[in-house]
């Protein structure tokens, strides 16, 4: 029997050596590899999103700021480790948040399309927000009972806040999760100033390396690099004037509609003539930027993009383009003088003028006899410009279809190319090539009709140049970038984009003509009773005929400080719709009481 005990002895000892040998292999030979694998298992990198910078107006009043909202998020890695895949937890959470379980499941499901509200475009390893702005009482129930809500996180996160509601919605733009890099979960600016100054506003994300346990609870923090908050963007927007501008546009549209006009779109620009800074920029239809907070609902997004609803997302002051009509005549005057017409000469303004074999008539067919260029602007005579255009066409046609001088002058006024404003999505407008076969095109062009298209902003900067003595600026809304600690990072100065090819005398004549418009000219009715002696305003009305639609109503104006341009599409004549709206804006700027018409 001894032999059998010895056999067991040998077996037990062999077993012992096998186990110790294997232990040596696992711990000492391969220990490093297993340790690395284990660390990879329970180390998490968490991106600490920076707080986005604010956008304030010229006096420091906030246009966009942040508020903290308790956000309930779900950590999928922990949730899916639940015995039932987290169904029970989601059921409890849904009841607590007053949502349906299916809705939560939809939100935390990783998606492959663009970022929307009904699936998750970010990394599956970080908590996925399920509901924002959750009341504190409910958040406490989650944080106090981690055993009942494994994988559910309630924490404070900053969200965008718009203290003025819809004010300057198009200027400000919006932020949305970046769908191009779904792992970087920080929201990026997608339109307006949020997009143009995204790099400055965004800040730098921090990083936290954590050790978590099997339930996803943080055991300890390995290292932490705090996030740098985004800088504040100080703009040249004046919230008060912006508010007045938007109100003026709304009133203008309402009044036009009461007269039976569609008035489906409108835009207005208020600029500081001397500096090229934008004081107010507004467009209708508009929308409430709050819809973007927390990811946009697909239904809301469809509404914002729907042309039938007027595509409210479109910033019409910079991205919309229309025929400028008579506001264009300032360029035609400049072109005529440049082509050798005497500035102070007298020119015939007949009721009709024959261009080639086609008669072109004055507005209403009325003639004014022999008048100055100044008076031509005041009464908005067309036939003078038809003649200039025709004669110039004949001169260039002789030179083998050269460019029409009026097109060249218009280009020098900054038309036909983007102004370079610090907003995305700017339209270039349209300038024809000017090598027309028929003189009728040139005639139409001379009064801002036909092919030419301008954006309200292009027109505003051209009139600002007339007001400031001839300097074309690339307009700017951003004024200063101020870091979170108060130091100024960058000052933004609107760059000079060119000079008007207009002599001093010509400019003076143009200004005189425009000054008469509000007193005795086409806008005299709109400015009746306005204290023009105290606050002289110059301007030019425009009424563009659009085939199959009501007229586009324009009014471009300036005083010694500001330039104000108003456009109401399908709004009727410039004098009856756009000019009164401009008057409302001027009243706010000058502090003149708005009379209720």
């Amino acid at each position: 029997m001894r032999s059998r005990i010895i056999l067991v002895h040998v077996l037990v000892t062999c077993m012992f050596f096998v186990l110790v040998g294997r232990l040596w292999q696992v711990q000492v030979v391969d220990g490093e590899r297993y340790a690395r694998a284990a660390t990879a298992d329970h180390e998490r990198h968490v991106v600490v999103p920076p707080v986005r910078g604010r956008i304030v107006d010229s006096r420091g009043r906030p246009l966009v700021r942040n508020r903290t909202a308790t956000t309930v998020s779900i950590d999928r890695t922990v949730l899916t480790r639940q015995p039932d895949g987290g169904r029970a937890v989601l059921e409890r959470l849904a009841k607590l948040l007053g949502m349906r379980r299916e809705e939560i499941e939809r939100r935390i499901r990783p998606c492959d399309g663009p970022a929307r509200k009904d699936c998750w475009a970010g990394s599956p390893y970080e908590p996925i927000p399920v509901k924002e702005a959750v009341p504190e009482r409910i958040a406490f129930q989650i944080t106090e009972r981690p055993d009942r809500y494994p994988g559910v996180v309630a924490d404070l996160r900053p969200v965008r806040d718009y203290p003025n509601g819809e004010l300057a919605a198009h200027v400000l733009g919006y932020v949305a999760p970046d769908d191009r890099s779904p792992t970087a979960r920080t929201a990026v600016g997608r339109d307006g100033l949020e997009a143009a100054y995204d790099a400055e506003l965004r800040g730098t994300p921090g990083e936290r390396r954590l050790v978590v346990d099997s339930a996803g609870r943080v055991v300890r923090v390995l290292s932490e690099r705090p996030a740098t908050p985004g800088a504040t963007l100080v703009t040249s927007i004046d919230a008060r004037i912006q508010k007045a501008t938007e109100r003026a546009l709304r009133r203008a549209v309402e009044r036009a509609r009461r007269r039976g006009l569609p008035a489906d779109q409108a835009a207005a620009v208020v600029m500081e003539s001397r500096t090229g800074r934008i004081t107010a920029l507004a467009a209708l239809p508009t929308y409430d930027p709050t819809v973007w907070v927390g990811g946009i609902d697909p239904k809301d997004y469809a509404r914002l993009m729907d042309p039938k609803q007027g595509s409210p997302l479109l910033s019409r002051a910079v991205a919309g383009q229309w025929a400028p009509a008579s506001t264009w005549k300032v360029t035609s005057v400049a072109a005529a003088v440049a082509a050798g017409r005497p500035v102070d000469g007298l020119y015939g303004c007949p009721g009709h003028y024959r261009v080639g074999d086609r008669p072109f008539r004055n507005f209403g067919g009325i003639g004014y006899g022999m008048i100055t260029l100044r008076r031509a602007l005041e009464v908005s005579c067309d036939t003078i410009f038809y003649r200039f255009a025709y004669e110039m066409w004949q001169e260039t046609a002789r030179k083998e279809k050269g460019e029409h001088p009026m097109v060249r002058t218009a280009r020098a006024f900054g038309f036909g190319r983007p102004t370079g404003v610090d907003l995305p999505g700017e339209a270039a407008g349209y300038l024809p090539k000017g090598d027309w076969d028929l003189p009728g095109y040139a005639a139409n062009f001379s009064i801002g009709q036909g092919e030419v298209l301008v954006t309200p902003l292009q027109l505003a900067r051209a009139y600002a140049a007339i007001a400031n003595g001839g300097t074309l600026h690339s307009p700017r809304i951003g004024k200063r970038i101020v870091a979170a600690d108060g130091t100024v990072v960058r000052r933004i100065k609107p760059p000079v984009a060119g000079r008007l090819p207009v002599g001093r005398r010509t400019l003076e004549v143009i200004r005189q003509g425009l000054a008469d418009v509000t007193r005795t000219g086409t806008a005299a009715g709109a400015f009746a009773g306005y204290p023009l002696d105290e606050h002289p305003i110059s301007g030019k009305t425009g009424t563009a005929e659009v085939f199959g639609k009501a007229d586009t109503s324009w009014f471009a104006s300036f005083d010694e400080r500001y330039t104000v341009v108003v456009m109401v599409a399908q709004g009727g004549t410039g004098g009856e719709t756009a000019a009164p709206a401009a008057r409302d804006i001027w009243s706010a700027i000058h502090g003149v009481k708005v009379d209720k018409r």
Partner: protein, 374 residues
């Protein structure tokens, strides 16, 4: 008092006490930062350890004749306990109906059944050869019949690991009882055939099959059935030569290994005490087995030899399966590590076995009772 001290064998006592104390500390470490009952595992395991050591000392003082007289009743009680598990008194934990819930305490009858089987088989196989009806030819079927009762009851729970250990105990004791090799070979062939049959007839539960399959390829389903084995390896491997230090293991603190305080307690030793600490624990276990075999070698009667040998077979198999599964050498079967794993039933039974080992050793001073009997 002197009687008690004389009854103790320090070559068993010392490693048993050290292993028990180490077990308490490892259980404490593995259950630290549990949200629910902080320290409850620690105090309970401490209680089991103290009660077990008392039981060990008490059994060490019992004479081998008393022990032998108790063998059969203990075995009957143990089998009744196993049968009771299958009644409504039984409690199901982790898919096995292995627990008896009595007055708020949970008890696992399959643990004492191991010791009871050792005692019963020793009584049967170790009876003098000239006892009527106990010819070697009749003993084998009798022994198999005795072993079949607890093995069958454990299979019904079902608890594959315990059944495996009971089977190995039976096989080991048959070998030690001097059963001819050809019969043993026949038995082994029969056991293999039965296992193959069970596989083909799909008698195993799905989770058992999954565990066996994931042993073959643990990376196949790292989040599912292979998770435990993979995490165990990563945890042990993280320890390196000297370990992360007690209470400082990230894997242990993070509760990445399920059942870490019971069946996977060795992973805590591996991560926090390193190769040196874990190997020391294996050496201590080996020391107890070594001493047990020495007792068997020097035993005066076949009964004592078989008791000591059976206990060694049991400890050896259980340690090999447990440490083997932690180190990826064996499939994951739920078997506690003797003296180290958390659990009252296991701790008490293992310490009782240590007491029995001391009781059957022949080199202890004869007690007064014995001289009277002579």
């Amino acid at each position: 008092m002197r009687r008690v001290l004389r009854a103790l064998d320090w070559r068993i006592c010392l490693p048993a006490i050290v292993l028990c104390a180490a077990g308490v500390v490892l259980v404490w470490s593995s259950t630290r930062a549990e949200i629910h009952d902080t320290g409850a595992y620690l105090s309970r395991q401490l209680g089991y350890g103290v009660a077990g050591l008392a039981l060990m000392v008490a059994l060490a003082c019992v004479s081998r004749w008393q022990l032998r007289a108790w063998s059969v009743p203990v075995f009957v009680v143990a089998c009744l306990g196993l049968a009771a598990v299958l009644t409504p008194l039984g409690v199901t934990v982790n898919g096995s109906r292995s627990w008896l819930g009595i007055a708020g305490l949970q008890f696992q009858p399959s643990e004492p059944a191991k010791l009871a089987l050792v005692l019963a088989l020793a009584a049967l196989l170790g009876s003098p050869a000239d006892t009527p009806g106990r010819s070697p030819a009749a003993r084998l079927p009798a022994a198999l019949a005795v072993a079949a009762v607890p093995i069958g009851l454990v299979m019904l729970q079902p608890d594959l690991g315990t059944a495996l250990i009971l089977g190995t105990i039976t096989a080991g004791m048959l070998v030690l009882a001097g059963t001819p090799w050809r019969w043993i070979a026949l038995l082994a062939a029969g056991a293999l055939a039965a296992a193959a049959l069970a596989w083909w007839l799909e008698l195993l539960k799905p989770h058992q099959v999954a565990r066996l399959l994931s042993f073959a390829d643990p990376e196949a389903d790292p989040q599912g059935s292979g998770y435990n084995a993979l995490q165990a390896l990563e945890t042990v491997g993280s320890g390196g030569l000297t370990g992360r230090g007690l209470f400082r293991g990230d894997q242990t603190g993070g509760h990445f290994v399920p059942e870490q305080h019971t069946d996977f307690i060795f992973t805590v030793a591996g991560e926090e005490l390193g190769f040196l600490g874990a190997a020391l624990l294996l050496v201590l276990l080996w020391a107890i087995m070594w001493r047990g075999l020495q007792i068997a070698m020097r035993a005066g009667t076949p009964y004592e030899r078989l008791v000591a040998g059976g206990i060694v077979c049991w400890f050896a198999t259980q340690s090999a399966i447990n440490v083997g599964m932690v180190l990826g050498l064996a499939p994951v079967v739920g078997v506690p590590l003797p003296l180290l794993s958390y659990g009252g039933s296991s701790t008490l039974t293992c310490l009782a076995a240590a007491g029995v080992l001391m009781s059957v050793r022949s080199d202890r001073r004869p007690l007064p009772v014995m001289s009277l009997a002579r």
